[in-house]
Amino acid sequence: MPELRWGGCELANAAMAKWINPVVTQSGSSFPWAFQATFWTIWLMIGLFFTGLEGKLDAKAVSQLLIQGAANFVVSQGFGRFLVRQQTHSAIRWGLMTFGGSLLCSVLWQAIVTPVFLLIWHTTLWTHVPQPGTDQSPSLHIVAGFTVGSALMFWCWSAVFMSMHLRRAYQHSELQRLQLQAAVQAAELRALKSQVNPHFLFNCLNNLRSLVAEDPGRAREMMLRLSELLRYALEVSRHERVPLEDELAVVKAYLELESLQFEDRLHWRIEATPDSHKIQLPPMVVQQLVENAIKHGISSRPQGGEILVRARIEAGALVVDVENSGQLPTTAGNGFGLENARERLRLLSGELARLTLANRGQDRVAATASIPLS
């Protein structure tokens, strides 16, 4: 679960990744407009303020500023779109891109504003402030100055734009991370709940509590068994297959814990041929059969009964046999609570896997799982 181990570094990377992700950009589409309006309104205010200071605040100056502001808006809008689509993680490339982009914007901006100015006022950007002692023709260094000045303005804009965008993207990804984490934990809890019967769990805790007073040494031992079982059930979704010996170790822990509840009403035995120990099978398959056997063969019978778990290799398949006292009810369907186990076995071990349930003799029921060796 890398989600749970994310440090700051990965987080920043993730933020970057989210930021350049067009989906995220779309979901935050209201953002550039609000930002744009605010930024360029402030720019306009400052422009008006300084023009006012110079005592030149007339209709012409104001309309010129408005046209420049509109051009700023249009150009930066395109620049912003270009920036959020860039798929790079390198800071140097980001720097180059904003720098080069700003220069380009500046040229573009002048290309928009100059024709408008010429059309209306027969003047260019770089000549509307008359230089004393010069004619109206632009000199190269004034043009260059203007270009650099407006490029700086766009660069400044892109810095603010990026920092705000990054912050938003970070918050967004942080939210997603927390949601993901919560979802993972909920899924694990659901898995645990579906694997561990709450009646069993609380009865077990209650019995352990009593055992602490009666036989502390055994109680300590049994707490280990419970931990083993819970850990296995909790991690079941992480492994598609486990060796049979691991599964049987957990089944043994489970039966030892159930023995606290049933005492001499429960007798059990586990037998597995040595060649079956390392065979892989989906986790909790045998455990589910044994739980089912406890439910129908022990806990519902006041006199209790016996449970026998046997595993062997037979005709190219692992055959696990769980036998319990009792008989199948004649009225019930063939399911008997095993539909889930059957479905899981089929999904995880393919169509050739079999799970059957049948009476064996007069006083036994056997559930048999057959899993082809892969």
């Binding site: 009646h199 805790l205 209650n206 019995n207 509840q261 806990s299 019978r301 006041p302």
Partner: protein, 257 residues
């Protein structure tokens, strides 16, 4: 007064744990332990406990089924490993229920409620605890004490359960091998025959009006003559019950006493 208590619980360790917890409660006297419903049903008539600490999930019959089988139920505190729907539906009706492992404070609270209920039911009167037949008790033919108005029956109908004092049951009606009980606004079925119930109920209170009906005389408001010597009883609930001709004479005798 001490609450005579029977622990009904299938796990020996769980019973031992309850006993340990009850050691801190001198007001409770544990008179026995039962490992399943069959044992409990066997012990209850002899031990006559005031209170059951009753596990709901047990091998064989569960806690509810045990209560249904009892003629008269003691006070009951349910215990369960996992509180589920059945218990939730039951909560407002039962004395209390405890989840296992049981917290000492919760147990103390539940026992306090049991003591209050016991004194309301008059179990704290001298000679109570039902160890010996009380004065005024009427013995039935089988030697078992007949049930009185203060005795309570346990009734389960689908998801709903009630502990009903017999005094509140106004009418019992035949419904095949079952009997329909009328009390409050409810009329659930109990899995016992009317004949059996009649044999267990105090005839001074419950009168067999006809083959169909057993009436709680304390609920009769009015009596009217009906066709050919039969009678019609008006109950305080507005229900009307016909008394067969054969029983009408017995009714007159009973009333004239």
């Amino acid at each position: 007064m001490r609450l005579r208590t029977l622990i009904v619980e299938d796990s020996r360790l769980a019973r031992a744990e309850l006993r340990r917890l009850l050691d801190n409660h001198p007001e409770v006297e544990v008179v026995g332990e039962a490992a399943n419903a069959d044992e409990a049903e066997l012990f209850i008539p002899d031990l006559r406990p005031d209170l059951l600490l009753l596990d709901i999930q047990m091998p064989g019959r569960n806690g509810f089924e045990l209560l249904e089988a009892l003629d008269s139920v003691p006070l009951v505190i349910f215990t369960t490993a996992y509180s589920e729907f059945a218990v939730q539906a039951f909560e407002k009706n039962a004395l209390d229920y405890l989840v296992k492992p049981v917290q000492a404070e919760r147990l103390a609270k539940a026992l306090q409620k049991a003591e209050q209920a016991a004194s309301q039911l008059g179990l704290d009167q001298p000679g109570a605890g039902q160890r010996e037949p009380r004065e005024g008790d009427v013995e039935s033919g089988s030697g078992r004490t007949l049930l009185k108005g203060t005795d309570r029956v346990f009734v389960k109908d689908g998801e709903h359960c009630w502990f009903v004092p017999l005094a509140e049951v106004r009418l019992l009606e035949v419904e095949g091998n079952y009997t329909r009980l009328y009390f409050g606004t409810h009329q659930p079925l109990v899995p016992k025959t009317l004949n059996y119930l009649e044999s267990r109920l105090d005839p001074q209170i419950f009168f067999r009006a006809s083959r169909q009906h057993l009436v709680n005389l304390n609920w009769v408001k009015d009596v009217e003559p009906w066709f050919s010597g039969s009678l019609r009883l008006m109950l305080r609930s507005g229900q009307q019950v016909e008394v067969s001709r054969r029983q009408a004479q017995r009714f007159r005798d009973l009333m004239s006493l």
